[in-house]
């Protein structure tokens, strides 16, 4: 596993799973791919992302099985893996009077 490519949240999730002895099944990640990656590396990466999620430009979105994380992170085409982040609707929580 190339830990240097994993963002903090993904590293933390892996650590948490290890401590709690709760193996991860799949994780939803965004993968940042090197725009200058070789075709071979990119094809090998695509083969690892077999769930058919979107892969356009330099960003792939995929629900990957945790045992593939090492292969994905070791692929030279991959710059970074980010655990999907839960966003919020931007409606104000402040109420009227």
């Amino acid at each position: 596993m190339n830990y240097a490519k994993l963002d903090g949240a993904l590293q933390e999730l892996l650590a948490e799973s290890e401590i709690e002895e709760r193996p991860l099944d799949t994780v939803l990640v965004s993968i940042v791919v090197d725009a200058d990656a070789t075709e071979g590396d990119r094809e090998r990466l695509e083969a690892l992302l077999d769930d058919g999620l979107s892969f356009d430009g330099t960003i792939a979105v995929s629900e990957v099985t945790s045992n593939k994380l090492a292969d994905i992170s070791d692929n030279p085409a991959v710059l970074a893996l980010q655990l999907s982040r839960r966003l919020s609707p931007k409606v104000s929580r402040r109420r009227a009077v």
């Binding site: 903090g8 979107s54 330099t58 995929s62 982040r85 966003l87 104000s92 402040r94 009227a96």
Partner: protein, 573 residues
Amino acid sequence: MSVLASAVTTTESTRLGSRTLDAELLEFLHILEEAGDGLALPSAEIGSRFTYGKQLLVVTSTDLPALERVIDEGGGRILDAAGRVATVELSVAAIEQLAIRARGLLEVRLSRLLSPKIDRALHLSRVGAYRRRVAPYGRGRGVIIGVVDSGIDGTHPAFRGRILECWNQVAQGSAGAGLPYGRIEQGPSATDEDGHGTHVTGIAAGAEGVAPEASIICVKTDFEDAHVISGVRYIFRRASELGIPAVVNLSLGGHGDPHDGTDALSIAVDEASGPGRVVVAAAGNEGLDSIHFGRTIEPGTTHVAFRVPYHSSRVVANVWYDGGGEIEIAVSAPFGISTAYQPTLFGTKATQTYRLASLARIYITTPGVSRLNGDKSIRVTLQAVGPMVHPGRWFLHLRNRGTPVTVHAWTIDDSAWGDATWSEPSNSYLIGSPGAASAAITAAAMISRNQWTTQDGSEWSLKFDIGTVAPSSSRGPLRNGHEKPDFAVAGGMIIAPRSVQAHFDADGPIDDLRATMAGTSMAAAVLSGMCATLLERQPTWGPVEVRDALQQGARVAYSPDDGRGLISLDQCR
């Protein structure tokens, strides 16, 4: 003789107007005159309400019988008359004669389309004046407004016949080619149990919204940013297949990213944007939340306090600093118990776990330099080991072993009771992804309404002045100094379509079809509608051209509060 030739000239109308024609009617006649014979057909539409044919007027007169005679001679008719006020249908050409000949005339004015909906939001950016100027454009026809949000109430009359489809990412199943999860729903079957998506879509593209003739594509999401990426791509792909431009509205965001537009969602937004493809994002509503800390840390140790509220099961601090910095970090709990200092852990597992008695389990992650922006990050998570993280005053201890370095940190928590807050916050640098994306046009919120009456007759108010930046609107700039937000538009309170499936607090429902909401979500929707009206006229424009056009109606100078300030759409190219 053309109708225009027989209509009131500017000089005449000015003269007559000084007596009886009101300002809006004078402006209307002036617009007709300026439109010229090239556009002039006797009943040609130059806007939804603006025709050269019969006009609906409200006339005030002390002599209704005299008024009736002139109207009759002019080929018009009185629809209703009582006391001194009559409602009248009369051609443009006959208005002059009415003004000259009718005895006892006090005022002639166009009937006004009243709308308790988002009228003030539109008025703040002079959307109506823009529509009149660019008629028959200005209503979003031929443009898709795609909204990635909580869904849409497909039965709401505000969207009748204009929802092309909805990708329900939350539904079980397989949506079809290229969409490995969720379900494609046709307009009327789409739902929105939260109400946010319906409201946002209604502002941008509802029947009384900014772009009321735009087509709509909805993506009902679970707000995972990975799914949001797919949602943006889906909308643009469908627009491309249909051969029409699209604006994607993202009234959502978070603070788990580096706040510099280098996260995956921001990159995806940048890459997906282009000619005929524009993304609008909300700046955020954290202006008063004290969730950002930023300071230059001198060599030595700096103690940074933050407060954990009651009932937080998990609190996260997201820390970023220059890649050349050398910072070690420790965390201490309210009773002084502390973790060890943790340096950057290069090339190995970067997460260490610490247990601070029963107060919390602490995860500290200190990876090396990010390949995406060249900076270092620290992630600190306080995880409850009981029902909640111990509330109170906690500290980050930052030991700088190098030269002075600027540190930015954001707190993120999952408590419904309030955010974890810094003791010495800076209420700047509050725009995260996707508002931080370079290509996104990012909206700050202005106050457009501060009083309203809800369905039960209760009257509500906000103690903020109309036309000022909403105090909760997230301030810029980005962590790398880039200027965000881009512009400010109306963001609260906005009355817009209400999802029948959603529950609202007491201050929300206006009637069965509308509700109030506030925030940069609403501002983003206003801005999305504006962008759609620009793409309607210039379908190959991308984010650069659209931003430049909007800039024409805004301030030159940048402010972290509201970017280039309020847009007057009628000033835009």
